[in-house]
């Protein structure tokens, strides 16, 4: 073989002839290629927190949660303290009452935080039950072809029965309370979540790694904990985050319809609905609760959506 060097490119003088001999070859080095610096959770969190607004919102929501749970512990103001002096009703914001008082002279600042706590609790409970039951039902649904038609019909039926029907019935049976509201919202939310998870789990069920587990005789329990749950954790977080503003918003709506919380319960929904009646008269009474309510719902909505985006590997760029 005749070889002509393209001398113009490189002066031969720079080369050391001794280098033209076999180098030591390390078999394992070639295996350690560091193919990717990619890690799902790291990338998810990095993508998630890359957005400064998200960081701010997470901080804000954390702050509000801490505040709403710490305030009732450390504050001495009784949010239900009714004043018998009409002069103390409907006060404007002052040093003593930062956001004024309501129709019965109760401190709005205190009520807002108590309401915030209660609404959070309700939201969390509903999110947990909806997503929790939804996931379990969705897993059974996705994994069991036989119950599929049954579940689809159940879904159709449940989403077709107007929620007010059984909410009014429940209110009759159980009286309006946190439990009633919880039961009536949770009794329906799960099936929607179940359908969502069912679709995801179906795709996991038919994925090759899951078939591989079947071939290895992996028991259902470990398939659930190892194959399914780790893959839908991000969905669970996202759904739960989106469930919270939804349930808080629903509580407000139900208050409007008249099947919400007991009206003396302090929740954001109640405060906003009560403030709405006197909105044109004492707008400041609605200011703080509305701002808190909107902040929570907007923040969770944004966080949920951003997390959904961040947990999508396609966005890990």
């Amino acid at each position: 073989m005749e070889v002509k060097t393209n001398e113009a490119k490189r002066p031969a003088a720079a080369l050391n002839p001794l280098k033209f001999r076999a180098a030591i070859y390390n078999n394992m080095d070639s295996e350690d290629i560091g193919f990717s610096n990619y890690s799902y959770w790291k990338s998810t969190l990095r993508t998630f927190f890359k957005n400064k607004a998200v960081v701010a919102l997470v901080a804000l929501v954390t702050g509000m949660i801490v505040m709403s749970f710490m305030y009732p512990i450390f504050s001495t103001v009784d949010p239900n303290k009714v004043s018998m002096l009409p002069l103390e009703w409907n006060l404007r914001p002052s040093a003593e009452h930062w956001f004024g008082t309501d129709t019965l002279g109760r401190d709005i600042w205190a009520r807002a935080w108590y309401g915030c706590r209660n609404s959070f609790l309700l939201g969390f409970c509903i999110a947990c039950s909806d997503v929790g039951f939804g996931m379990i039902a969705g897993a059974l649904w996705g994994y069991n072809k036989k119950i599929d038609p049954f579940m689809i019909e159940l879904y159709n039926i449940m989403t077709n029965i107007p929620s007010t029907v059984y909410m009014v019935l429940l209110a009759y049976i159980m009286n309006t309370s946190y439990i009633t509201l919880f039961v009536s919202m949770a009794s329906r939310g799960w099936i929607v979540e179940a359908r969502f998870f069912r679709n995801r789990i179906l795709s996991i069920r038919d994925s090759e790694y899951n078939i591989a587990s079947q071939c290895l005789g992996t028991p259902m329990r470990r398939i659930a904990t190892r194959n399914i749950i780790p893959h839908i954790v991000s969905l669970i977080i996202m759904e739960a985050a989106l469930c919270i503003p939804y349930s808080i918003g629903s509580e407000v709506f139900m208050g409007f319809v008249g099947v919400g919380m007991p009206v003396d319960a302090i929740t954001l929904g109640n405060i906003v609905n009560q403030g709405r009646a006197s909105f044109t008269l004492h707008p400041y009474q609605m200011l703080l609760p509305t701002v808190i309510l909107c902040t929570i719902t907007v923040a969770f909505y944004v966080i949920g959506n951003k997390f959904a985006d961040a947990s999508d590997p396609r966005n890990h760029v």
Binding site: N156, N160, V165, V168, Y172, G249, V252, G258, Y301
Partner: protein, 312 residues
């Protein structure tokens, strides 16, 4: 195809029947005193009340009542309202109310589609730019903030700023503006959000790249390829809006004093107007089933990939 429609119809009928019977029976669990508005309860004694209940057939066995209802239904008689509009034939009520709500529903649906799609296009066109951000902000407010809050703001402030009537009047077209806009806000946000998402998804598909490689300018590719594909998944939701069009919005109709079907079901349930609830539930169930069915038909019509066959 015929077989598909047949089985599909049968299954839908079953669903409707179960929904209906469930609601029917649930209503019979309600307390007897619930059939009387406060005003009547306070003015009547037990015996008179029982007389009334007996006259209305409410003391009969639920199955007897169910059978009577079904029998009348097939004779075209929907019965009369019990407590909300005492003695008024339900068919009359529906005839009066549905056109009002439906007019608003259609108007808002059209506005929702037109504005929603325009907004979605603006957002994609100015992706990660001001248009996108403004649109996202709008969607965020509509979807995250409880609707009662912003609807209330709109009624009080917007009507003042633009000097629009506070409530709806049949003969004053300007009074239609606010309620229609309020009704369409949700669907504007919905269509904009999903159109944007679908278009961004489609954008990365091979066929879009291939269309670009063909030498078509981006604008043509977007118009002829991306848009059409992104709109198809939205089409499926159109007929399910049917139910929304007929059922209306409780809050908006109450705020603007629109005599539509909006609060009808809720009021009927709370007043224990069995006859009215039954008919409405039946109607809504049928409509929603039809809506889903139409959605599938429509998708099969616009999307050449989909054929109507049993199973999903």
């Amino acid at each position: 195809m015929t077989k598909y429609i047949l089985t599909r119809t049968l299954r839908s009928l079953l669903t409707v029947a179960i929904v209906f019977v469930t609601v029917f029976m649930l209503l019979r669990l309600m307390p007897l005193s619930g059939y009387f508005p406060q005003e009547i309860l306070k003015e009547t004694d037990e015996a008179t009340r029982m007389t009334y209940l007996r006259n209305q057939g409410l003391l009969d066995h639920p199955f007897v009542q169910l059978w009577r209802f079904v029998k009348n239904l097939f004779q075209g008689d929907l019965g009369r309202s019990l407590t909300v509009y005492p003695k008024v034939p339900i068919i009359t009520l529906l005839k009066e109310k549905i056109p009002v709500t439906a007019a608003f529903g259609f108007a808002s649906m059209v506005i929702g589609i037109v504005l929603g799609i325009s907004l979605g296009l603006v957002m994609v066109r100015f992706k990660n730019n001001w248009g996108d951000r403004l649109g996202t902000f709008f969607i965020l407010i509509v979807r995250a903030v409880p609707s009662i809050i912003y609807l209330f703001f709109i009624q009080v402030w917007i009507s003042k700023w633009f000097d629009l009537p506070l409530v709806f009047y049949k003969d004053r077209p300007e009074s239609w503006v606010l309620p229609t806009i309020c009704l369409s806000l949700g669907s504007i946000a919905y269509y904009a959000l999903w159109l944007r998402r679908f278009m961004v998804d489609e954008e990365n598909k091979d066929y879009v790249k291939f269309a670009m490689v063909k030498g078509l300018p981006k604008r043509v590719v977007w118009k002829k390829h991306v848009f059409k594909n992104a709109v198809i998944p939205l089409v499926i939701y159109l007929p399910s809006d049917l139910l929304f069009i007929i059922s209306g919005s409780l809050v908006i109709e109450s705020l603007y004093a629109i005599p539509g079907t909006g609060g009808l079901l809720t009021t009927a349930i709370k007043s224990q107007d069995n006859n009215l609830v039954q008919v409405i539930v039946l109607m809504y169930a049928v409509l929603s089933v039809i809506g889903v069915f139409l959605g599938d038909l429509l998708v099969a019509f616009v999307d050449p990939r989909i054929k109507l066959t049993e199973g999903e």
